[in-house]
Amino acid sequence: MLCHQSSLRLNRCIHASNGSTVLFASFRCFVSSGAMQMQKEPQANICQPITTCTRTEIMNFQNKTFDDIRKQQLTKLVPRIEKIEIKYKGRGISDSAVMYMNKHLSTPHHCALHISKTVADSAVLALVTPNDENNSLLQAKPHSGKEVLAKDDTEPQPIPWDMHRPLPFNCKLEILNFNMPQSTQWHHDLVNKIYWQSCAMILGAVIQEAFKENYSIGLYKLPHISVNRGAFCYDVITKESLRDWKPQERDLIFLTKIARSIISKNLNFERLEVDRESAIKMFNNNRFQLDRISNILRDKKENAKISLYRFGQYIDISNGPHISNTSHIYHYVVTAVHKLKFEEDADMCPWRIQALSLPQNLKVHHAVWSMLENRARKLVKENLPHPPVGNDEAQNYVISGSIENETKEYMKSTGQWREGIWKKTEDVLKPTIEIRDIKFVRKPHKVA
């Protein structure tokens, strides 16, 4: 099925293997080769009328549907305000409290604000253990033939909960940080895993911002990667135009600068649960994200919901909880871009973009950081969707010691680094990553 305005955009259509045309990121009309029956109808019924097909228009559309759905859900859930009881477990005995908050409206962040601002600012995750017996989220486990221990039956498991997600039931609340000297390894592992996932999601936003409209680039997969690998990744697919791209150091520096400009806006991670149809409507332009949705909802009922996360204007599909705010991030560097082989279709070229980051409370000396960065340049082999092209060893296209040092601002008088202030991007309005064989010329050490 061809696009509505196929005459104008024929040069950008890719012909997939089964004969139907597949259109790519920045186009409003699209057809997927997946097993969705809706797409057999004519185009006019599915697509919303949008004037232009640019990335900004798509993002506006996504954000608008997000807001509309959220409003609808709120009006359904909260015809009048009800109260719930929350027992907050503090750091010491004197800190614990019992709070009466609003059902479906108040979040753990609001509870923390009642205690103090530092608790609310430094909070990353909340652990919620529901109290009520008649509770939809508490599912009774069927009795297996094993021995019954007293512990398993009586105590419900704590659920990791976003800070900005409203609470729907009576519960006990516990707030987690990056550094909790009195907590167990399990708490720390949870927080680290969640930090890794949210930083990977930010990479997706960086990729959308960095490339010009000509180079169609689509978000492919968000893999789950353990912290031990040393870097988090986002898999991305590009068309022919970027197939011969050899990423250089200046590209990585540019990507980190864009990441900084996104992070410095201090964006909250907001969660929304959405049913299948509206999710398909929102991600209509990218067939790989639709594949992701169908994979998640494959074995579930028809009424099952998908959770979307939004920070700023960028929306992504993700299952687990995320950190509360991007202000928690301090170091953030895009370390490597690795090329992968897509065996089925020679036109499309997948890439794996890797980055490394550390939170505000756990800053690290610049020498230690450059060691960790160099380790993060190697290809992370966990959850690789396709085999890599070229050698397994690290492609060291970085000439300077570490990328972070190139993005710092130094004081004119002493030559010392100005903490917290990073160099802004040079071209913010028209980001470019062009394919050229550039001879890397080392610029003199710039002082602000």
């Binding site: 390894q185 720390h188 927080v191 912290v227 690998r229 756990l362």
Partner: protein
């Protein structure tokens, strides 16, 4: 930078070069004998450097000329020399660099005792005395997990390179 602080490290005199060496010698010997000392912060800080360097030197072995000279100067007593080679060396054979722990004590608030200054406790790690109430780094935080994983990687690579 002021005269006594090159590279941010304070340059302490301790009453002159001869007196300083004599002082440090006694402190190093005392540490090896008792394994935990309470002194002023300045003295503890300096002995820490000398003791760690001494243990690094003993790792060369008794037959090494340089090692022999150093140990004979810094640890003249026979009993302490034996303790160094027979007890402390095997204890720190796999330790990389930090053999001592320096814990700063709270300052005296009493007027009479105010002249004492900043006191500290220096101890050799792995000693049989009851442990000091010192906060060690949390090994489960993100940066420590990353560093431990990176270290594992490098050790694995190094062992591979040695085999090849």
């Amino acid at each position: 930078m002021p005269r006594g602080m090159p590279h941010g490290n304070s340059f302490r005199k301790f009453g002159g070069p001869d007196k300083r060496l004599h002082l440090l010698k006694t402190l190093v010997n005392a540490l090896i004998k008792h394994e935990r000392l309470e002194t002023t912060f300045a003295k503890a800080y300096e002995t820490q450097k000398y003791v760690e360097r001494l243990i690094d030197i003993t790792k060369y072995g008794k037959s090494n000329l340089y090692c022999n000279d150093m140990v004979n100067f810094w640890v003249p007593e026979e009993a302490q020399q034996n303790k160094l080679f027979n007890v402390l060396l095997p204890r720190y054979s796999e330790h990389s660099r930090k053999y001592t722990r320096l814990a700063v004590l709270t300052e005296w608030t009493d007027k009479d005792m105010k002249s004492h200054g900043k006191m500290a406790v220096i101890e050799l790690k792995g000693n049989p005395l009851p442990p000091l109430p010192v906060k060690e780094g949390n090994p489960h935080t993100l940066q420590n997990v990353l560093l431990a994983a990176a270290k594992q990687d490098w050790d694995y690579q190094r062992s591979n390179v040695k085999e090849n």
